[in-house]
């Protein structure tokens, strides 16, 4: 059997395994969320600042909150099977529509952050490892430590003060200029302009992680026997570093990146909040406080699917990076 067929069969097997996992995630989330006190009707009425008993009863009936819990779970599961994520209580629109609307901005922020964080992290780690114990190594290590230890919201706010208020280079927040409503390429440029500060803020944190990881991974690989062999064969240092060490050193970095994509969806609440970026993290955060359980379940489900998919992709990438690892 050749590699491609093997990989495909492996992927199918993993997907089949994912089904019970997803089901378990839904059921556990459902009961966990119902542990929270107060329901969507209370939250909505609280927001309105006033209510009558009839109004509360109407809301509960409309949301189906008057039914027993197992019945509510049954209805939810039945709907999920036909890809219906239900209706958001607070937003009064289908969950799928809401989540999809927020998914693109999240993806935009996530992908650009991962690219910058992994890209620069690998580069800095490489530079630090290759100049071990020189000023370059020290400088990069201190930089990584400082960015890792600085709270994200503080970095975000300082960037706003410096680059938006004082220098006027970037807009303070948002994803687009809402006074202008650009279209076509102008809109793409406008969004890119708005994307810069949130991406840098979020990247800085992860960048530090990848830098440290890459540095130690490089150093570990550099001491391996195969490197000595390569050197004995008379390969240039350049060839050794890029052709042998780097490839092996990347494995832990890829693992880490895979795990963190899932975390990034949740971890970007702070950045989304500070920069008013309309992503999923903020949506989930608000949904929690308005007890909008359908919406939360929908977001959790999507995140779970995403994590499963990315883990699979990472496993397949392994087999490309290191031919010794076989999928099957």
């Amino acid at each position: 059997m050749n590699q491609t067929v093997k990989r495909f069969r492996y992927a199918m097997k993993r997907l089949a395994q994912a089904v019970p996992i997803v089901l378990a995630i839904i059921v556990i989330n459902f009961f966990l969320l119902h542990l929270a006190e107060g329901d969507a009707a209370v939250a909505l009425a609280g927001e309105a600042g006033s209510a009558t008993p009839e109004y509360m009863a109407q809301l509960r009936q409309k949301f189906g909150l008057d039914k027993p819990l197992p019945v509510q779970l049954g209805i939810y599961l039945k709907n999920v099977l036909v890809f219906d994520l239900g209706f958001s209580f607070r937003h009064n629109m289908p969950v799928a529509e809401l989540v999809f609307d927020r998914f693109m901005p999240t993806l935009l922020l996530m992908v650009s952050t991962i690219l910058i964080a992994v890209g620069f992290g690998v580069l800095l780690g490489l530079l630090a490892a290759s100049g071990l114990n020189t000023w370059r190594d020290t400088f990069i290590s201190v930089f990584a430590l400082v960015t890792y230890a600085t709270p994200l919201f503080w970095v975000g706010l300082m960037m706003i003060i410096l680059f938006a208020l004082n220098l006027g280079l970037f807009p303070t927040s948002g994803m687009e200029n809402f006074a202008a409503f650009h279209e076509g390429w102008d809109r793409v440029k406008d969004i890119a302009h708005h994307l810069v500060m949130p991406t840098i803020t979020l990247s800085l944190f992860y960048l530090a992680l990848y830098t440290r990881l890459m540095r130690s991974s490089m150093l570990e690989q550099a001491g391996m026997d195969y490197v000595t062999t390569a050197r004995a064969k008379g390969l240039t240092e350049r060839r050794i570093v890029f052709g042998h060490i780097l490839r092996n050193a990347l494995l832990p970095v890829v693992t880490m990146a895979g795990v963190q994509v899932g975390a990034l969806i949740g971890g970007s609440v702070i950045v989304e909040s500070v920069f008013a970026w309309p992503g999923l993290g903020m949506l989930a955060f608000e949904a929690l406080f308005s007890r909008d359980l359908n919406l939360l379940l929908g977001i959790f489900l999507l995140s779970a699917l995403l994590v499963i998919a990315i883990n699979l992709v990472v496993d397949i990438i392994y087999s490309f990076l290191d031919p010794r690892i076989e999928v099957g």
């Binding site: 909505l44 009064n92 989304e272």
Partner: protein, 530 residues
């Protein structure tokens, strides 16, 4: 301001005088961006009184009346109105040539449908505001006659676009009112048409070219921007990206800084209709606050001015009775005895001694948990202050701070609290805003912001009922004086201070305070100095 003599309101002449063509040329156009926090749950003012809805919807929908800063009625969709001497018949003469944004004419049938089939049934406060209305007659397209069981002077103050919006019958009739498409895509008669709502980002409204007021609106577009983080909202204001922020859009600590910046202004005008009052609710069914004496003692000890000056940066006015002094213009306000000019610790100690709250070895007379309204840092500071202040007379408090649904559930459903720090909107009339706090019929388990103290007194219930339906202003004033005295003695709720919300604005923005509804107004006369 309310009287039973025939009252005819002309079209506001002053309003028309402004529209010389020369002025129009300079004052029109532009996109007005304001910051909205939090994001509204829907854009259906007929289904929810949520504040953020109120900042957007009244630019799309309109009410029968608007109000000035003293809450005198100003014509809006009703060009004039007439109240019969017994207060049982109210006739509204509607503006002509008003159309909905989809082109259909606005008629008296819409008024009847809005009140009888929507507001009376689905609005959180509508069933109270229109309690006495049993029929609306529509002899012709431009006349709506409200028939009342009893006189309802308060109803005349609840007809703004925020409180009682007129909604399109032709789009709602025969549908599920709660699930109708206009819940998120409003269609009204107002100066701006709904265009788009990008959740988490903005709501966009464009100029209604067929608006019935000649020459208005002046702005081309209104955009409500949603920014979750308080510091970023401030930065956007400072950077000139947004022109206006109301309620808690800008945190008080930033207000102090922004008001010193050139080009940015701060005003407390525009909140008369909301009439917010900070207060403490006591659980009257649970120790230790089940006796009036200890509740009065708390009121005697708390230094209200200290809280205003040190926690609210001077924005506020000490409460002197159960009713806000903003009701004074209607003759419904009188200072009462347990709201002292200065804190009086000696008197409080004596009250507690006489009532049998003896101090233990540590000087503690009573212990309780103070629940703090989870609406921001200032309330926590206020809770900390109260803990200190009450410790002086031996009332030991622990503070508890939960998220909104948990807190509401605890106070208004489980009644599992002892003393609660909160604020209420007293609204333009006590019947709408204050009665819900005290009446026996307002003890409604599971319903937030009603009588959560479970205070019940037959004498007070009778007074509230007669106050609601008394058409004579002077007699009504006397009834409310008795009500205030009664509530002063029993004090199930202790008012702290009349809150003064601020509006932070960019000085390029002009004429945005023409209505007493403030942030909840139409902004049709507002313009940008470009």
């Amino acid at each position: 301001m309310f009287n039973i003599k025939q009252k005819r309101l002309g079209v506001a002449v002053a309003l028309m005088a402004v529209f010389s063509t020369a002025a129009l040329a300079q004052k029109s156009g532009g996109t007005y961006v304001f910051v909205l926090h939090p994001e509204p749950p829907s854009l259906a003012p007929h289904l929810s009184t949520s504040g953020p809805i109120g900042q957007v919807a009244p630019k799309v929908y309109q009410g029968l009346l608007d109000y000035d800063e003293d809450f005198n009625p100003v014509p809006e969709l009703a060009e004039s109105f007439d109240v019969s001497p017994d207060g049982l018949t109210v006739t509204f003469n509607l503006q002509r040539n008003v159309t909905w944004h989809d082109g259909r004419p606005f008629t008296s049938a819409d008024v009847r449908f809005s009140v009888m089939d929507v507001l009376k049934k689905f609005h959180p406060r509508g069933p109270n505001s229109f309690r006495e209305v049993y029929e609306i007659q529509t002899p012709d397209e431009h006349t709506a006659i409200f028939k009342l069981e009893k006189a309802a002077p308060y109803m005349m103050k609840a007809l703004s676009s925020y409180e009682s919006p007129m909604v399109p019958k032709h789009l709602l009739e025969g549908t599920d009112i709660r699930d109708n498409e206009i819940t998120n895509k409003p269609v009204g008669t107002g100066p701006f048409k709904f265009v788009e709502w990008k959740k988490g980002q903005y709501i966009r409204l464009d100029k209604n070219e067929n608006y019935w007021k000649p020459g208005l609106p002046r702005l081309d577009r209104v955009v409500a921007r949603i920014i979750p983080d308080a510091s970023t909202r401030t930065a956007a204001m400072e950077n000139g990206e947004v022109f206006y922020g109301a309620f808690d859009a800008i945190q008080p600590v930033d207000v102090i800084r922004l008001r010193d910046i050139d080009g940015i202004g701060v005003t407390t005008k525009g909140y008369a209709s909301i009439n917010p009052m900070s207060l403490i609710e006591f659980n009257t069914q649970k120790a230790p606050f089940n006796q009036a004496a200890i509740r009065n003692a708390v009121s005697l000890v708390v230094d209200r001015q200290f809280m205003i000056d040190n926690i609210w940066y001077g924005y506020g006015k000490k409460a002197v009775s159960a009713l806000s002094s903003r009701f004074a213009s209607a003759g419904l306000h009188a200072a009462t005895g347990n709201y002292p000019a200065e804190p009086n610790v000696a008197a409080a100690v004596k009250l507690l001694d006489d009532a049998g709250y003896a101090p233990d070895d540590n000087g503690v007379r009573a212990r309780a948990v103070l629940d703090v309204i989870p609406y921001g840092e200032q309330w926590r500071r206020a809770g900390e202050y109260l803990k200190q202040a009450l410790a002086e007379v031996g009332i030991a408090l622990d503070l508890r701070y939960e998220d909104v649904p948990t807190w509401l559930n605890r106070v208004y459903n489980e009644y599992d609290y002892q003393i609660n720090l909160n604020y209420f909107y007293q609204l333009p009339d006590p019947v709408i805003g204050v009665h819900r706090h005290y009446g026996t019929d307002q003890i409604r388990k599971g319903t937030p912001f009603v009588n959560g103290t479970r205070y019940s007194d037959a004498g007070l219930d009778a007074l509230l009922a007669s106050g609601a339906s008394e058409p004579d202003a002077k007699k009504r004033g006397e009834i409310y004086e008795q009500i205030q005295n009664k509530l002063d003695a029993d004090m199930p709720v202790m008012n702290l201070f009349e809150m003064e919300f601020v509006i932070v604005y960019n000085e390029k923005l002009k004429e945005f305070t023409f209505s007493g509804m403030g942030p909840y107004s139409s902004f049709d006369r507002t313009w940008l100095d470009q």
